[in-house]
C-alpha cells in the first residue's frame, strides 16, 4: 500500500484533484449531468491523444515538437479523403491515416537516430514540414467525415447489464479513448518493447548493456507517437466533421499535461494514466471557468501557471530529496 502510494502518489493526487473539481463543478452548476460529462469526454479526446503521443517519447527520454502538426496533417488527410466519398470508404481511410502517422513518426525517430541531430531540433524541423504538407493537402479548413465515424463519439455506449442511469455516464467518446489508448498501452507497457522504451529513457547506457536495441527502440517510440498523433488528428476530423490545416494548441497542451501527469521530462518514469487525468483536469478547469462566466482568457493564465508551478514543485522535490553528499 505504501509502495503503491509512493509510486502512484502523483496519479492518486491528480485523481483526487479531478474528483474535487467534479464536486466543485456540481456545486457551481447543480444541473451538471451525464450529458455534460459526455461533452467533457469529447473535448478531451484530441488532447488525450496528443498527450499520449508526447508521453511515449518523453518516457523514452525524448521530446516531440511535431505532435500538433502531425495531428493537423492526419486530420486534413482524413477529411479530404472522406470528402464526397462513400460511408464505406472511411473503413479504408481510418487505417490508412493511422499507418501514415505510424510511418511519419518512425521517420522522426529515424532522422534523430541517423542524423544524430538533437530530437528537439529534428522535431522542430518536421513540425514545419508536416505543417507545410497539411497546407498542401487542404489550404483551408474543409473536407468531411463519414457519418458513422461522427456518430462514434456522440452519445452513450449501451453496456449490457448496466442500469440506465449508470450507462448514461459512459459516453462513447470515453469508451473510444479508453479502447484506443489502453488497448495499445497496457499490453505494450509490460511487453519487452514497452520496457525497452522505459529503459532507454531511464538509463541509455544500462539499457544498451542489458541488450536493448537502443536505436530501434527510439524509432519505435516515435512511431507510436505518430500513431497516437494520427488518432488525435482523426478525432479532430470526427468531432468537427472537417479537417483544419493550421495546428491547434495541442503541442503546448501535450507538454503541459505530460508534466502535470507526473512524467519526468528526463525520461524513464511515469505512465499514461497520469497525463490523461491531467488532460481531464485542464479541460474541466476551462469548463468551470465558463460556468462561472469568467473570461476564458484567464484559463490560459491558469493553465500556464499550473504548468510552471507544477514543474517547479517537481524540481523542488527532486532537489530536496537528493541524498546528502551527492553531487548535483
Amino acid at each position: 500500500m505504501t509502495r503503491f502510494l509512493r509510486r502512484q502518489g502523483w496519479v492518486a493526487g491528480l485523481l483526487a484533484l479531478l474528483i474535487f473539481l467534479f464536486v466543485i463543478t456540481k456545486l457551481i452548476q447543480p444541473g451538471y449531468g451525464s450529458g455534460d460529462f459526455g461533452s467533457l469526454a469529447r473535448a478531451v479526446l484530441p488532447y488525450a491523444f496528443a498527450v499520449a503521443a508526447q508521453t511515449v517519447v518523453v518516457i523514452a527520454g525524448g521530446i516531440d515538437l511535431s505532435v500538433a502538426a502531425m495531428m493537423a496533417l492526419t486530420s486534413v488527410t482524413a477529411a479530404s479523403m472522406m470528402n464526397g466519398a462513400s460511408e464505406e470508404y472511411a473503413f479504408f481511410v481510418v487505417p490508412f491515416v493511422l499507418a501514415m502517422g505510424l510511418v511519419l513518426g518512425a521517420l522522426n525517430g529515424l532522422l534523430i537516430v541517423v542524423t544524430r541531430v538533437p530530437d528537439i531540433v529534428v522535431t522542430l524541423a518536421t513540425l514545419f514540414v508536416l505543417q507545410g504538407a497539411a497546407l498542401l493537402v487542404l489550404d483551408a479548413p474543409g473536407g468531411a467525415a463519414a457519418e458513422w465515424l461522427k456518430a462514434s463519439v456522440v452519445g452513450i455506449m449501451p453496456i449490457a447489464g448496466l442500469p440506465d442511469w449508470a450507462d448514461a455516464w459512459v459516453p462513447k467518446a470515453l469508451v473510444l479513448l479508453v479502447v484506443c489508448l489502453f488497448a495499445i498501452w497496457i499490453p505494450l507497457r509490460s511487453s519487452r518493447l514497452g520496457l525497452s522504451i522505459y529503459a532507454i529513457g531511464s538509463d541509455e547506457l544500462a539499457a544498451f548493456r542489458s541488450g536493448v536495441p537502443v536505436a530501434r527502440t527510439r524509432i519505435v517510440a516515435y512511431a507510436l507517437s505518430g500513431l497516437f498523433a494520427a488518432l488525435g488528428g482523426l478525432s479532430l476530423t470526427i468531432s468537427t466533421g472537417i479537417g483544419a490545416p493550421i495546428p491547434g494548441p495541442y503541442l503546448l497542451a501535450s507538454v503541459a499535461a505530460v508534466v502535470l501527469g507526473g512524467v519526468a521530462l528526463g525520461g524513464g518514469k511515469g505512465g499514461l494514466l497520469g497525463p490523461i487525468i491531467a488532460v481531464f483536469v485542464l479541460r474541466l478547469v476551462r469548463t468551470d471557468l465558463t460556468l462561472l462566466a469568467i473570461d476564458p482568457n484567464v484559463t490560459a493564465i491558469i493553465e500556464g501557471a499550473i504548468m510552471v508551478a507544477v514543474v517547479m514543485f517537481g524540481a523542488f522535490i527532486t532537489i530536496r530529496g537528493r541524498p546528502a553528499g551527492a553531487t548535483p
Binding site: 474543409g142 456522440v154 479541460r283 476551462r286 465558463t290 460556468l291
Partner: protein, 319 residues
C-alpha cells in the same frame, strides 16, 4: 431585472470588427433589459476549440447562444446539441450548416461582389489584383470568395497577382502586404476582406504606387478615403453591430416571436471616393472618435436600440 442568460462564442480576438461585435452584444443585452447575464467565450481558436466553448455554454445552461462561427460545418455537432438541449442558437456574421440555427448576417457574397466589381472597373477592367482574404475556412470568407469570383468572371482581363489569408488579423495583413511590396511585383488594385487601414498605411510608408483599394467601412479606412492623397478606393459596409442584432433576434425567439425566415440578411452598401456623391457619403459616415479598426456603422436600424455611448462603453448587464 432580465430573465435570460445568453452565451456568446467568438473565435477571432484582437480584430476591431469582432471587438465592436462583442461590445454591440453587451450594449444590446443591457439596453434590452431582458438579459440577466452574458457568458462570453471570446478567444482565438479554431472549430475544435469553439466546439468545446459551445459545449461548456450548454453545460452552463444558458438560454440562448449567439455564435460567430469559426467554420460553418465544424461546429454543427455542438449547435445541434444546443438545440436539443432547448437552447436558442443564433449565428451572426456568417452562416452555419446546422439547420436548426437562426442566422443573421451581412450578405457576404453581395458584400464582396459589390466591392470587387467596383474595383475592377476602377482598374480599367484589366491588370493584377492583390486578393487579401479573411480567415481560411470561415463561411464569411468562402461566401465572399464566391462574390469575388463572380465579379472576376465578369472581367476576364483582371488577374489575381497573389491570394493570401490575413486571418482577419491586422498585424498579419500588414506583414503580408509589406513582404509582398518588398518583392517589387507590380499590382493594379487591392481587394481586402476588412483588413484595410494597415494596407493603405503600408502603401504610404513604402512609398509604393497608390493603387485602388477596396475594404470595409472601418473608421480608419473611411478616414483614409477622405484624406490620403492619391488614394482611390471604396468602403463596403459590414456592421460589427450585427452582434447586437443577434442578441435582439435571440431575445425575440426566446419571447416566442420566431422570424419568418431562418436566415436574415442585411444588404451592404458601397461608399467610394471617386465620385462627389460617394465622397459626400464617406464624409458623413466618417467618425474619427471611433477606434480605426471599428466599423463606423455602430448600429443597425430596427435591430439595435443602444446608444453610441453604450456601445463605446462596452459594458454588459451586471458589469
Amino acid at each position: 431585472e432580465g430573465k435570460y442568460t445568453i452565451g456568446i462564442s467568438n473565435t477571432v480576438q484582437g480584430n476591431g470588427w469582432r471587438e465592436e461585435m462583442i461590445c454591440a452584444m453587451k450594449a444590446q443585452a443591457l439596453a434590452s433589459g431582458e438579459v440577466a447575464k452574458l457568458n462570453i467565450a471570446h478567444r482565438n481558436t479554431d472549430a475544435a476549440g469553439q466546439l468545446e466553448d459551445i459545449r461548456n455554454l450548454i453545460s452552463a445552461k444558458v438560454n440562448a447562444i449567439v455564435v460567430n462561427p469559426a467554420d460553418p460545418a465544424g461546429i454543427k455537432a455542438g449547435l445541434e446539441e444546443a438545440t436539443k438541449a432547448g437552447i436558442v442558437v443564433v449565428a451572426v456574421d456568417q452562416a452555419v450548416t446546422e439547420p436548426s440555427a437562426y442566422i443573421i448576417s451581412n450578405n457576404q457574397e453581395e458584400y464582396a461582389y459589390l466591392g470587387a466589381k467596383w474595383l475592377f472597373k476602377q482598374m480599367g477592367g484589366k491588370g493584377e489584383v492583390l486578393y487579401m482574404r479573411g480567415a481560411a475556412g470561415a463561411s464569411a470568407d468562402s461566401d465572399r470568395d464566391k462574390g469575388f469570383k463572380k465579379a472576376l468572371a465578369e472581367f476576364p482581363d483582371v488577374k489575381v497577382a497573389q491570394e493570401v489569408f490575413t486571418g482577419w488579423q491586422q498585424d498579419q495583413g500588414k506583414q503580408q502586404i509589406l513582404s509582398f511590396l518588398a518583392t517589387g511585383a507590380p499590382i493594379n488594385g487591392i481587394w481586402t476582406s476588412g483588413i484595410d487601414n494597415v494596407i493603405v498605411d503600408a502603401l504610404v510608408e513604402q512609398q509604393a504606387p497608390m493603387v485602388p483599394v477596396v475594404g470595409a467601412d472601418n473608421a480608419g479606412f473611411v478616414g483614409q478615403l477622405n484624406s490620403v492623397k492619391g488614394l482611390v478606393g471604396a468602403a463596403v459596409t459590414n456592421p460589427g453591430s450585427i452582434g447586437g442584432a443577434g442578441i435582439t433576434l435571440a431575445l425575440q425567439i426566446l419571447d416566442g416571436k420566431k422570424p419568418a425566415e431562418q436566415t436574415v440578411l442585411v444588404q451592404p452598401q458601397l461608399w467610394e471616393n471617386a465620385t462627389d456623391d460617394g465622397k459626400a457619403k464617406l464624409k458623413s459616415a466618417a467618425d474619427p472618435s471611433l477606434s480605426p479598426e471599428w466599423p463606423v456603422s455602430i448600429s443597425i436600424p430596427d435591430w439595435t436600440t443602444y446608444t453610441k455611448d453604450q456601445i463605446v462603453a462596452c459594458k454588459g448587464p451586471g458589469e
